[in-house]
């Protein structure tokens, strides 16, 4: 165990007041509501905040909107898993004494944005081609002219390679297990967008988006916000809720656009999982709850392999018989995931919110028994970045 392990804790979490399809609120409103709710959850106020962390939205605008003047500001944007990275960065900043209360905020109107030209996480224009940003960006020269645009096609492109190496039918069965089990968890979460059960037939019969992906391999697109408050473990002891300590954290990224991914069956989580678990001094058997970024069924199954829960090519065996569903022996994505709960575009903040609630024992019908340690794996970009955290509720 590293000596930095456990020195900071998550003390507040919150979502925006409304989530899902919320055309009446802007992204900044989602940021602010989530931040308000997370600070209230912690028993802190805006004036306690001296570190501000956000992704994609400018920290300038976000801080201005909420009336915050940070001593430490971090706008690291490496995709939807940036927020797990912010916890890693906050751990460093708090230990260095640069700030004491770090507020990490996210808000996005992925579903209802009124921006005519949607710019996605990679800076690709989806609305009008002529509004494309800097043509010096490699995707604009080398991928977009071919219609290789956006996450569903790009992740599907990677999944085809896994099917080639490890078998199409085996892979398909794993994707289906994830889609179906994740929906079962969503039905236990009143905040989840998806309210109806999903059968295996529903999965296999859903329309093609980009082969090999069916519609039900792909995450939702929603409007929501989420926020997390981090402070030193010393300060955390006096706050409203019992602190959830950050036992391990690690970060990496390998590429920007999908055609530059070094190996389509390996994520950077292969390194970050090991580093975060080494920092925490825990092994796989110690993990009670696993939260992985399920932008697509494929990214969830691949994360389990690269985090070391099973070997390369073994996820289809590991996932058999709904073992990740409620009642199974490997609880996974218990909020219902990006696939069935919410996915604004940058979903990573919501992984941590659920892990913290599970570790506090606040999850009611979907509560994981005796949940003491959770592994959270943020993924970002086009399978580009990995930010892994190990969280625990022990003093």
């Amino acid at each position: 165990m590293s000596k930095i392990s456990g020195t900071v804790a998550i003390v507040g979490v919150g979502e925006s007041d409304e989530m899902g399809v919320v055309p009446g609120k802007s992204a900044l409103q989602h940021h602010a509501e989530a931040a308000y709710n997370a600070l209230e959850d912690a028993g802190l106020t805006k004036d306690d905040v001296d570190g501000l962390f956000t992704a994609r939205y400018s920290p300038l605008t976000t801080a201005e909107y909420m009336g915050i003047r940070p001593k430490y500001s971090d706008g690291t944007w490496i995709g939807g898993g940036s927020f797990e990275g912010h916890v890693f960065h906050a751990m460093a900043a708090i230990n260095a004494g640069f700030c004491e209360v770090a507020l990490i905020t996210h808000g996005q109107s992925g579903r209802s944005s009124r921006i005519p030209a949607l710019i996605d996480d990679q800076g690709f224009a989806h609305g009008t081609v002529s509004d494309s940003p800097d043509p010096n960006q490699p995707p604009l020269q080398y991928e977009q002219p071919y219609g290789l645009i956006g996450p569903p096609i790009s992740y599907a492109f990677a999944c085809t390679r896994y099917m080639h190496e490890f078998g199409e039918e085996r892979t398909r069965s794993a994707l289906a297990e994830i889609a179906v089990s994740t929906r079962k968890w969503a039905l236990k979460n009143e905040k989840a967008l998806m309210k109806k059960p999903m059968s295996f037939d529903d999965y296999h019969n859903s329309r093609w988006i980009a082969w090999p992906f069916h519609l039900l391999d792909c995450c939702l697109v929603t409007d929501a916000g989420g926020a997390v408050v981090v402070t030193s473990t010393d300060r955390a002891r006096d706050l409203k809720k019992s602190p959830i300590r950050v036992l391990g954290a690690a970060e990496s990224h390998y590429h920007g656009m999908i055609s530059q991914m070094p190996d389509y069956t390996t994520l950077a989580a292969k390194e970050t999982g090991k580093r975060a678990m080494n920092m925490a001094g825990v092994s796989h058997d110690d993990i009670d709850l696993t939260m992985v970024y399920d932008a697509f069924t494929y990214s969830a199954m691949l994360s389990l392999e690269d985090l070391g829960f099973c070997g390369k090519g073994e996820a289809p065996d590991f996932l058999q018989d709904q073992r990740t569903a409620p009642g199974g022996d490997f609880p996974l994505n218990t909020n219902g995931g990006g696939l069935s709960y919410t996915h604004t575009g940058m979903y990573g903040i919501f992984l941590m919110i659920e892990a913290v609630r599970q570790l506090r024992g606040e999850c009611g019908e979907r509560q994981v028994d005796n949940c003491q340690i959770s592994l959270v794996n943020g993924l970002g970009g086009i399978m580009s970045s990995a930010n892994t955290l190990v969280l625990g509720n022990h003093e």
């Binding site: 081609v129 219609g147 290789l148 569903p152």
Partner: protein, 142 residues
């Protein structure tokens, strides 16, 4: 010619030669004289060993299909008339991987296989821009 709404590459300082040669229906790649790596996309400094001693080499235009996806839901209205179409990654002789479209093929997973041999063909978009695309290697009848 009907109006073309899809993204058209805008050559950049490091890629001007690439696009100029594509217009002449030749595929040229960067090669590192230090580590001997041939790489895509064009960059003056080798992304493998960081050497500045790099040059251009002509590709045979032959390779194998490394991975692909068949697009059914257009990612942008400009591609709506093209679906289903194939986005592909070709591993060229020499090792560089290039994103492209696989064309002149029946668009179904039964007919498109990772590992199949493919060859470059050129699709002229505008006066200045020609896109390298790929098709299955044509076997000449005996």
């Amino acid at each position: 010619m009907a109006e073309y709404y899809k993204p058209i590459p805008v050559p950049q300082p490091e890629s001007e030669y690439y696009w100029k040669m594509a217009k002449d229906e030749e595929l040229w790649l960067r090669h590192c004289n230090s580590c001997e790596k041939i790489y895509f996309y064009p960059r003056d400094i080798c992304p493998g060993c960081y050497s500045r001693d790099t040059n251009w080499v002509r590709s045979t235009g032959k390779g194998i299909l490394h991975t692909f996806s068949i697009v059914y839901r257009a990612p942008h209205p400009a591609f709506k008339d093209d679906v289903p179409y194939v986005v592909a990654l070709v591993e060229l002789e020499g090792g560089a991987r290039i994103p492209t479209n696989l064309i002149e093929v029946e668009v179904t997973p039964e007919k498109i296989k990772v590992g199949m041999p493919v060859e470059v063909v050129f699709d002229r978009l505008t006066e200045d821009i020609t896109l390298p695309k790929f098709r299955p290697v044509q076997v000449s009848p005996l």
